[in-house]
């Protein structure tokens, strides 16, 4: 490719600039977190005496261990079930091609763009009537339902491309439909499944609206919802709030850095398909 030297350098410069803007909020959080608790530091100024203890203080004030436990429980309640249900439905619509599949699929697809705020009011009354308000089930059950459009859409896209011959030969060997699904198709769907799992994990962990509406106790919320409560409680103590925010966003950040490649692919495919 013929590329001008000047263009290459503007490219680099632009990229560095964008990265700087992207990192600026993180940097600001970090530096502010090191100032003495209760002070009101101005801008980006390295403290004379960095208060690393703020992180310990925030860790205790936010009750991080309980928060991570709560978020983990919610993720464990949502993701495996949503994966299983979404895969089964995607398999039926995309591969078994049962009668009436187009109508069902359309019903799911219409839910793809649904803003959660649109149904939060009746959801509150429904969850209350089920007696689940202020329990983790209040987040888990609605989220499974809300994730169905995307999960079904995603898995159908995978199963539509699976060759019929595969199922035919399995059936010839005497497998029933469930065995065909569980032993043949689920193992083959692992790449699609793992990407979907990453997306669902992220969306659950970062879920805010359902957490603040349906669960009062921050210790039974998702990380995100707990951060909202933390802000309400410590909003006036900037260094502590910044330290707490960093701690609360750390788990997703760490998991992202570990599974980076999968994450990027998953998020790209996710938005391309959705």
């Amino acid at each position: 490719m013929i590329v001008g030297r000047r263009e290459t350098w503007t490219g680099r410069l632009l990229l560095v600039l964008l990265m700087a803007v992207t990192l600026m909020p993180f940097l600001s959080l970090f530096v502010t977190a090191l100032h003495p608790s209760g002070s009101y530091p101005s801008g980006l100024e390295w403290p004379r005496d960095p208060q690393w203890g703020n992180f310990v203080k925030a860790f205790q004030a936010a009750r991080m261990i309980e928060l991570v436990k709560s978020s983990t429980l919610i993720v464990l309640g949502v993701v495996p079930v949503a994966l299983l249900l979404g895969t089964m439905a995607g398999f039926a619509i995309g591969h078994l091609r049962m009668a009436g599949r187009n109508v069902v699929f359309l019903a799911f697809v219409l839910g793809l763009t649904l803003p959660f705020e649109g149904i939060i009011t009746p959801l509150y009354y429904q969850v209350r009537d089920m007696g689940l308000l202020n329990t983790r089930w209040a987040i888990i059950l609605p989220l499974i339902g809300l994730f169905m459009p995307f999960a079904v859409f995603w898995m159908r896209a995978h199963f539509v491309n699976m060759p019929d011959e595969l199922s035919e030969s399995a059936r010839m060997d005497g497998a029933n439909v469930w065995q065909l699904f569980w032993r043949i198709h689920v193992p083959l769907a692992m790449p699609a499944l793992s990407s979907l799992a990453i997306l669902l994990f992220l969306w659950t962990w970062n879920q805010f609206l359902l957490a603040i509406v349906l669960v009062d106790d921050p210790l039974k919320r998702t990380m995100s919802g707990a951060l909202g409560a933390f802000q309400g409680q410590w909003g006036t103590d900037m260094p502590l709030l910044c330290a707490g925010s960093l701690l609360i966003l750390a788990p997703t950040l760490v998991i992202f850095l570990i599974f980076q490649r999968r994450f990027v692919t998953a998020l790209l495919q996710g938005s391309l398909k959705g």
Partner: protein, 322 residues
């Protein structure tokens, strides 16, 4: 569900056709399960459809129902017909929230897509370098963290003692320094900047991955014909990215119209109603002001608005050749 399905019971092995027969029959037998009765698929769809119906479809129907009543959430409700919808479109507090969301599209969609196109096309030239690899990771960070954390970090950056004002002062623009999120004239754009920050990386990377699919020969040919970088960008890059641009626009427009987390954390809709968006207004109406009917009418308007905006974009940018 591990029990044998009815067809495997009624299907006597003796009469099952040999492989040759299957090959011959394949043209006619359409269903993948071949000998699977078509209703079996419904057993697989049923659980998903069940939770979807209970936790999504039913609430949607209830939102529509609530929107026709005057109800405080506790006592008896009275029929209001379309009165609540009339309120949504005549009460300035309510329709302003919709207008604000529409204005946010400029920041959530237009800026990330335009900047994303520009940066992606320049980054493309250095795609193989280490800088580009690190850049992909860094630009993705805002997508991964909770929006609440982004809101807290930016509220701090944009506050009167924040880094943004510090930078402005250092370049001699101290005169415009202010509490950006607390000023009536700048609060909405300031919220928009936060959204742009979150979405720019996603758009850049998405467009970049689309660009990697463009045939380099096209660019070679354009250069041979004497096309400059701008001509090349407008005639090759943008048209080839039609589908990716469509995805970026859809995702970001929905993010703008349905924004909640960022506004809730950074301004709570204030000052006054300067940054009120429908999502937040619904939350306040339903859970603080106990006006469930009006909240639901606004919710219906929001759901329809998102659908009406998202569907045509999808349709316009669909690659119909494939």
């Amino acid at each position: 569900m591990t029990r044998p399905t009815p067809d495997s019971v009624v299907d006597p092995p003796a009469t099952s056709p040999g492989p040759a027969a299957v090959t011959r029959k394949r043209g006619h037998a359409r269903a993948a399960g071949l000998r699977t009765p078509r209703w079996v698929g419904w057993l697989f769809v049923a659980p998903a459809l069940g939770v979807y119906a209970v936790f999504v479809l039913r609430p949607i129907a209830l939102t529509v129902q609530y929107s026709m009543y005057r109800w405080d959430g506790i006592g008896p409700s009275t029929w209001a017909g379309l009165g609540n919808y009339a309120r949504v479109f005549t009460d300035p507090d309510l329709y302003d929230s919709i207008l604000n969301a529409v204005k946010l599209i400029v920041f959530f969609s237009v800026i990330p897509v335009v900047l994303g196109l520009m940066s992606a096309s320049t980054i493309r030239r250095i795609a193989a370098s280490r800088l580009a690899l690190v850049g992909r990771t860094v630009l993705f960070l805002p997508q991964v963290i909770p929006l609440v954390a982004a809101g807290i970090a930016w509220s701090w950056l944009l506050s009167s003692a924040g880094l943004v004002n510090q930078l402005l002062t250092s370049v001699g623009l101290g005169g415009v320094a202010r509490a950006w999120l607390g000023d009536f004239s700048t609060a909405l754009p300031a919220v928009g900047v936060i959204g742009a920050w979150v979405l720019l990386g996603l758009c850049t990377i998405l467009l970049l991955s689309g660009m990697s699919k463009i045939d380099p020969a096209l660019y070679e040919a354009a250069r041979m014909d004497g096309a400059g970088p701008l001509r090349e960008f407008l005639s090759i890059t943008v048209p080839s990215l039609r589908q990716e641009i469509g995805v970026c626009v859809t995702v970001t427009v929905i993010a703008a119209l349905a924004s909640f987390d960022i506004v809730y954390v950074s301004t709570q809709g204030g000052p006054g109603n300067a940054t009120m968006v429908p999502g937040l207004e619904i939350y306040y109406l339903a859970f603080s002001e106990r006006q469930v009917g009006i909240a639901s009418a606004l919710a219906v308007v929001l759901m329809v608005l998102v659908l009406v905006v998202a569907l045509p974009i999808q349709w316009l940018t669909k690659d119909r050749s494939s």
